[in-house]
Amino acid sequence: MKNIIVIARKELLDALRDRRTMLMVFVITLLGMPFMMVVLSESANRYETQIEKKQIWVAGMGNAPILQNYVERQGYTVREAPADYEQQLQTKNLIDPVLVIDPDFQDKLAVGERPAVYIVMDVANQDSQAGVRPLRALLQGFNMEAAGLNLAMRGVSPDILNVVEVRERHLSRSADSGAQLKSALSLMLMLTMVSAGLYAAIDTSAGERERGSLEPLMMTPVSSWEFTTGKWMAVGSLTMLVVVFSVLSIFPASWLVRNETVRIMMQFSVTELMLMILVLLPLGLAITAVQIAIAINGKSHKEAQARCTVLVVAAPLVSMVGLFKQGADPVWFKWVPLLGQNQLMGKILNNEVVSSADMLMPVLSCALITFAALWYVSRKLRTVLM
């Protein structure tokens, strides 16, 4: 045990003095989480303000005074669209759809014809798409009012047009941005774990080979198992340190969030944060062990980095498997690292109860992977020299 601590201490000291490792750690912990939250909050904000701002862009409003009257009565401000609105929509200078009214609108309406109006937007301009629905609803309202008046003048109740009364209750918006935020948060933490200790893992294995320091190490009376465990402990604690900081950075990051809905979503209790860390801990340690196991086969940093890229790419892909399933999660999800943790994180973020039985399977599979990876590394440490 004394040897393991000596090795872990040295490896940790070495990693803390490594600029590349520390840059990775600081960038991820200090910037990653706050950046993600600000981006999400801003996108939620934009969506909400677009719906709430009650403003429409129209080309040719003067052609339809009756429509203008209706629109303004609904509390909307009418703004004259610029002449080059098509180009502005394409270049995303204009983020709302434009309503285009033909010059003969009023004449056609007067003789009982149906004048056409156009909602112009660019499919590639996502913001303009978001504004289509309120605009369509506004026009629908106008249609209903005009038709209703026509019918009323002929002594028919306007209700005849509405066989069914449809009412909308909006629950989805806050829940939607919440779900998006939660999966993004979970994915962010997984990515953090995969990348946080990567350089340290490579340096402690392939780095030793490249420097030529593995051979002298193997000539000391310390077993390969002790070396492996010490190295794993050092890199693992670095990874976990990053994860803990990332999770805790949710607190200060939520100050940067301007969107109310998102801010409410991010109000986690200390217990929830601790639970998140507890869920991620075994995964972080397993990932570290696998990283070292992959990197030990590399003769240089460069080679090991190329090998480890597989892991960096695979991790988000595995997490995404969960997105493609339909209905409830299958049981085998619990056994797959990343998927199992993703599932548990989802539960914690949704304020569901996480039992120790839920934790058992992911912890067990992580422990098995860790052990297998460490066993492989301890065997390899000597054989790569032979």
Binding site: I7, K10, R211, L214, M219, P221, S223, R382
Partner: protein
């Protein structure tokens, strides 16, 4: 004391092509190396490049498994990958990597701790070695940017930090200037003496002057086998040469002399 008997080792070099199943190339690195390195003596392993010196030393250091033969360190058989004999050995191999982000002292102390010393003991030993090997100027500096000589001295101190009874040095003067080489020679002589602990020192080199000036016993290795052994004088007599370089060339490259030896 280190005894090496009939050591042999072959490597199989993988074929270059991934798709074609070709026969792996077999390289016989060591065919028959035998010698005894006594305590209180400096034994020089002398051989041309690729003669099998480094492979033999790696087997003695338990890094490589021999195909046949036996190695005894202080009477204990060496098995590759096992640590039994390593506590009694200080090895400066051709891989001399230091940790660039640690200071020379931290590098050496780390090995001391791995050899079971306490931090105080290791630090005390570092001070002692710093004095002898002239490391004081850079002992507290990080190894990143060390000159070849500074690296070599640090690696040497690291190999000797636990004061081993048996010392194996693979071409230790590589990269050292004249003054440092002299200092190293003096140090090795001191280690051989009773005050220095009568160490058993094996020293591999291909530099004749070093062998002439330093070694009590010379083992000439050629083509993976021991072709001659004895003191410098004995080898000169055997080859009837006055110049040791000529004697070595005769022993290593002329079969008639090898057979006579």
């Amino acid at each position: 004391m280190i005894r090496v008997e009939n050591l042999s080792k072959q490597f199989s070099r993988a074929s270059n092509s991934f798709w074609k199943r070709e026969q792996n190339e077999i390289v016989q690195a060591v065919t028959n190396v035998s010698f005894t390195a006594a305590d209180g003596q400096i034994t020089g392993l002398l051989g041309a490049n690729g003669a099998g010196k480094t492979t033999s030393l790696r087997m003695i250091a338990a890094l490589l498994k021999q195909d046949s033969g036996q190695i005894l360190v202080d009477g204990v058989a060496v098995h590759a990958g096992e640590q039994r004999t390593q506590a009694q050995m200080g090895v400066l191999s051709d891989a001399r990597g230091l940790y660039p982000r640690l200071s020379a002292r931290e590098n050496i102390v780390y090995y001391g701790l791995l050899h079971g010393m306490t931090r105080e003991q290791a630090n005390g030993r570092v001070d002692q070695l710093a004095e002898i090997l002239d490391l004081k100027k850079f002992i507290e500096r990080r190894c990143d940017g060390f000159s070849q000589g500074e690296k070599m001295k640090t690696a040497l101190a690291r190999a000797l930090v636990h004061d081993p009874r048996n010392i194996i040095l693979d071409e230790p003067t590589n990269g050292l200037d004249v003054v440092a080489t002299r200092a190293l020679r003096e140090f090795l002589r001191w280690l051989r003496s009773e005050q220095g602990g009568s160490k058993c020192i094996i020293f591999s080199t291909h530099i004749m002057q070093e062998v002439e000036r330093l070694c009590d016993q010379v083992v000439v290795i050629a083509h993976g086998a021991t072709v001659a052994q004895g003191t410098v004088l004995q080898l000169l007599e055997q080859t009837q040469e006055n110049d040791f370089e000529n004697a070595f060339v005769k022993l290593a490259f002329e079969p008639a002399h090898r057979d006579a030896a």
